[in-house]
Amino acid sequence: MRIEIDWTRCDGHGLCAALMPQRIRRDEWGFPLIDSVGLDQRESAAVRRVVAACPALALRIAHDQPQPVARA
């Protein structure tokens, strides 16, 4: 399980970092730095809360590995 960010939506409001400081920090501009390493089912309730709280709807839960982006 990991938290995926749609960077085109994220405005750096920071609610995610406030709700889950043990996993989410903010960079110098306020955008989230998410540590998804070892994120497991025990944290799934907290993760769902974070995803639901995002005012920009920029977060979602992904269960796969990051999708490679193929350029032409």
Binding site: W7, T8, C10, D27, W29, G30, V69, A70, R71, A72
Partner: protein, 435 residues
């Protein structure tokens, strides 16, 4: 746009008495009154075959050189691709067979990406303006194999458009090919951005990383389709009679910077960098930029093999085959700073880390250039802060470009902190000002 072919003007473009090196094909003023794209080859030309006789290979000449286009279907095409690997030539180097297999259901569209948004790259434009029928052969063959409802070629400029439009008229197949001009920036060539541009929207990358093949779109670079046309005729065995075992065949590179003969060069995959530099008349060099502005700064080591594996072994990425020579006479750190600022300006400004991070990174490099601040740690920090944090690969590529430059130019950075390197900034790295 009216297409005007003026062969007399074209021949005048070559000054009388000019002696060209063997194998050189002088680009003539093909269709548009823009600076022509010089194209030549090291070894026997495949893609560029015929350009020693004509400035543009029309359909009659094309058929005489290459023979008729063989029939193909999906199984046949996959068989060829399994027997002879063909990687996408747009930069990411995705295996074409994998792309073909990952199509969800029947393809709705085949899209030939000729946006060529890498500022120093000219290879796709060279193909489209000078040997358009190879590109069309590839696109039409793939279209038939996957039973596509639509074949679209996206091109960047008017010269490519008119050459291709003329090529479509020269052919006799019933297959309809749509040609569309797209006008995106550096990120406009990313596949989602391109599809948005084709649909009439702004050419910016999408937020969700979903492969376009999942939507029945088979999209690849112009050169990939041209190579496919070569593979279809030669077959896997003869296709592999040059190049390396894992990367057979030839490739196009765009060579520029401090060289006497900039242009598009067809080389066997794996050709040593030194051979290309000598053939291109490179000035004494302090660095090379390989892979364009999402690529890397590397030492000008002649033994670097120009293919994906060879450049990766040297610590870089081959990308779309751009090779730029940074001469010993220019301020390399200044060159790096110019391109860092340009990369920052190319952000689509959709994603925060890229929008804020790339200008910060460029400012760090400028501070190093001015020798006013020990900004090296800040630069590496900002490069890390943008890496992988965007909807497209622009921040990752920009970070790779700048960090590779900073690693290579340690002595330059020290010199600048002590008051300067003493070399003028000659602006050898091209910036693609026409975009």
């Amino acid at each position: 746009m009216t297409a005007v072919t003026d062969r007399a003007a074209a021949s005048r473009a070559v000054p009388a008495g000019t002696v060209m090196p063997a194998g050189t094909v002088m680009a003539a003023g093909t269709v548009m009154p823009v600076s022509p794209i010089t194209a030549w080859s090291i070894g026997a030309p495949r893609l560029l075959a015929g350009l020693d006789r004509a400035e543009r290979v029309d359909h009659v000449t094309h058929t005489a050189i290459h023979g008729a286009l063989p029939a193909t279907d999906n199984a046949h095409l996959l068989g060829l691709l399994d027997a002879s690997a063909l990687y996408g030539r747009g930069g990411a180097g995705f295996a074409f067979a994998r792309k073909l297999r990952s199509l969800a259901g029947p393809a709705t569209r085949v899209v030939v990406n000729g946006a060529e948004s890498e500022p120093a790259s000219r290879k796709d434009r060279a193909l489209l303006t000078r040997v358009p029928h190879l590109v069309l052969d590839g696109a039409i063959s793939v279209g038939r194999a996957v039973e596509a409802r639509e074949i679209t070629v996206a091109v960047h400029d008017a010269a490519a458009y008119s050459s291709l439009a003329r090529a479509v008229q020269e052919r006799t197949e019933a297959t309809r090919v749509q040609i569309v001009r797209v006008d995106g920036g550096f990120v406009g060539g990313e596949e989602h951005a391109l599809l948005r541009g084709l649909a009439g929207d702004t050419s910016i990358p999408a937020g969700r990383r979903r492969p376009v093949s999942a939507d029945g779109v088979l999209l690849s670079n112009v050169e990939t389709f041209a190579q496919l046309a070569v593979l279809l005729r030669r077959g896997p065995h003869r296709f592999a009679d040059t190049g390396t075992r894992d990367e057979p065949g030839t490739t196009l590179v765009t060579v520029g910077g401090a060289v006497a003969r900039p242009g598009v060069v067809e080389i066997p995959l794996g050709t040593p960098l030194g051979i290309l530099m000598t053939a291109a008349g490179a000035a004494p060099a302090q660095a090379v930029v390989i892979g364009g502005y999402h690529g890397s700064w590397l030492p000008p080591a002649g033994e670097i093999a120009l293919n994906r594996a060879g450049v990766a072994a040297a610590g870089g990425t081959f990308g779309a085959g751009v090779v730029l020579v940074v001469g010993a006479d220019t301020c390399a750190l200044g060159e790096l700073g110019r391109i860092a600022h340009w990369l920052a300006a190319q952000s689509a400004r959709q994603c925060g880390p890229c929008h804020f991070g790339l200008p910060a990174l460029a400012t760090d490099v400028e501070a190093l250039y001015r020798g006013t601040a020990p900004a090296l740690a800040a630069a590496f920090g900002h490069a890390r802060a943008v890496d992988g944090r965007g909807a497209c690969r622009h921040p990752d590529g920009a970070a790779r470009f700048v960090t590779s430059g900073l690693h290579l130019l340690q002595d330059e950075i020290d010199a600048h902190l002590r008051g300067g390197c003493g070399r003028p900034l000659l602006r050898q790295l091209p910036m693609g000002g026409h975009r």
